[in-house]
């Protein structure tokens, strides 16, 4: 017998601290597999966010620097500019990347910073207990939109891929999802391609992954995937937003 699927080397052998059924875990695995498949684990440095993935340094089996909330792209820039021969990825939630970290992500992209951004869009602030995120859908109830998100009062959701695609420094941006095995496979390819582009020194790369938060959405893990599919996909259209090839 041969093992055809096992824990990738780029993951530490410790359990995640994510809630049961949270797709953060699937995304971790895919990132680790991309790193392994390119054989770059020892040359890869991750930058973890403030958000549920704040402990990512315990999970990835490579060097990891924990950034302040929203600043991962700046931290990654600092590292990349010091070690241009290393591969950098940031792992960021939607609050981290699209709210407090807006300037940092826009400018890292505009600079064409040679980093790979793993952007986990779960339409909520997971870690702090379920407040509205920039990506929270209209009508969605959260801790700080108790009556449902209202465009006038709370603003409209931000689509990050669409926002960044006009920037000349971007080499590759794609939005993928984690709600079923087929989409997970696609997501996996996208992540690998992003790292590949970095290895080839093409420019800034970002993969947005639609993800769940069963705890704060108040659903079971299976219900969460369904909710993602039915509610997030129509607004957050999957696909390649930029690819310089």
């Amino acid at each position: 017998m041969k093992v055809v699927f096992e824990r990738p080397e780029a993951l530490q052998n410790v359990p995640f601290t994510y809630c049961a059924g949270c797709t953060h875990g699937i995304i971790h695995r895919m990132v680790a597999e991309a790193i392994d498949s390119l054989g770059i684990r020892e040359k890869t440095i991750g930058v973890s966010p403030v958000g549920c993935a704040v402990f990512a340094y315990d999970f990835f089996n490579c060097d990891v620097v924990a950034a302040a909330h929203g600043r991962a792209p700046a931290v990654a820039t600092g590292i990349k500019r010091s070690h241009p021969d290393k591969y950098l990825f940031t792992y960021q939630g939607d609050g981290d990347l699209a709210a407090i970290g807006t300037a940092e992500i826009v400018h890292a992209a505009a600079r064409g910073e040679r980093i790979t951004v793993i952007f986990v869009n779960n339409a909520i602030y997971g870690m702090t207990g379920g407040q509205m995120a920039p990506t929270t859908l209209l009508g969605q109830k959260t801790d700080t939109t108790p009556y449902g998100r209202d465009a006038r009062a709370n603003g409209l959701p931000i689509r990050v891929c669409e926002l960044l695609q006009s920037l000349d420094g971007v080499a590759y941006i794609e939005r993928v999802s984690t709600h079923d095995p087929k989409h997970v496979l696609q997501a996996q390819k996208a992540i690998k391609k992003a790292f590949q582009y970095q290895v080839e020194d093409k420019g800034f790369t970002l993969i947005e992954l639609l993800s769940t938060c069963p705890s704060n959405w108040g659903m079971t893990p299976v219900e969460s995937l369904k909710w993602l599919e039915e509610n997030m996909l129509p607004y957050y259209k999957l696909g390649v937003y930029k690819d310089i090839g």
Binding site: T17, C19, A20
Partner: protein, 182 residues
């Protein structure tokens, strides 16, 4: 007279709301009350506990290292708080989820299969109320009546859950009384 109590379990067992209920009830009896939560790290599903203080005097420290009573709803909570109870104090143990005997011999120990009883009467979620009933039967720092009145106010919006909770309190109290009688 100042009574203090720590209630401990894991997130989702209703530890926090149970403590709040007690504080509300204390307030309705015109006592000074204080409720203080302690959460685990920002990540989910960890352990949770809260402190409740009920007193006729001004309440000083909200941080109680040696409470007069502790209610533990699961094993890690027993491990953590057993030693904290003051000598002569009370320890209520949810035996449904705790598979060892407490070691202390200088305190009163109330055993109550709270989760089992709760399941029996219809919802595992009511285990907290069963444990509370058991505690109050043993040590009536607040009357069970006051807690029931509080229940009515708190659940005014969803009255359907009131009977279950009342029943849970009663069954818990009963279990404690039976035990005391033994």
């Amino acid at each position: 007279m100042t009574e203090d109590l720590i209630i401990a379990g894991f997130g989702g067992q209703g530890v926090m709301s149970m403590g709040q209920m007690l504080a509300y009830a204390g307030l309705s009896e015109d006592k000074n009350v204080l409720w203080m939560p302690a959460y685990g790290p920002e990540t989910r599903g960890g352990f949770a506990n809260c402190t409740v203080i009920v007193s006729d005097e001004e309440i000083g420290s909200p941080v109680v290292s040696h409470p007069k009573a502790v209610i533990v709803l699961n094993l890690p909570s027993l491990d953590k708080f057993e030693d904290a109870v003051v000598p002569g104090g009370v320890l209520v143990v949810n035996t449904s989820l705790v598979n060892r005997e407490p070691k202390r011999t200088d305190i009163d120990i109330v055993h109550v299969p709270a989760s089992d009883i709760a399941n029996e009467i219809g919802s595992s979620r009511a285990a907290n109320m069963v444990a509370l009933g058991a505690f109050l039967a043993h040590k009536p720092i607040i009357s069970i009546e006051a807690v029931k009145n509080t229940l009515k106010k708190v659940f005014a919006a969803k009255p359907q859950v009131i009977p279950l909770n009342e029943k849970a309190l009663d069954r818990g109290a009963e279990a404690a009384r039976v035990q005391a009688a033994v």
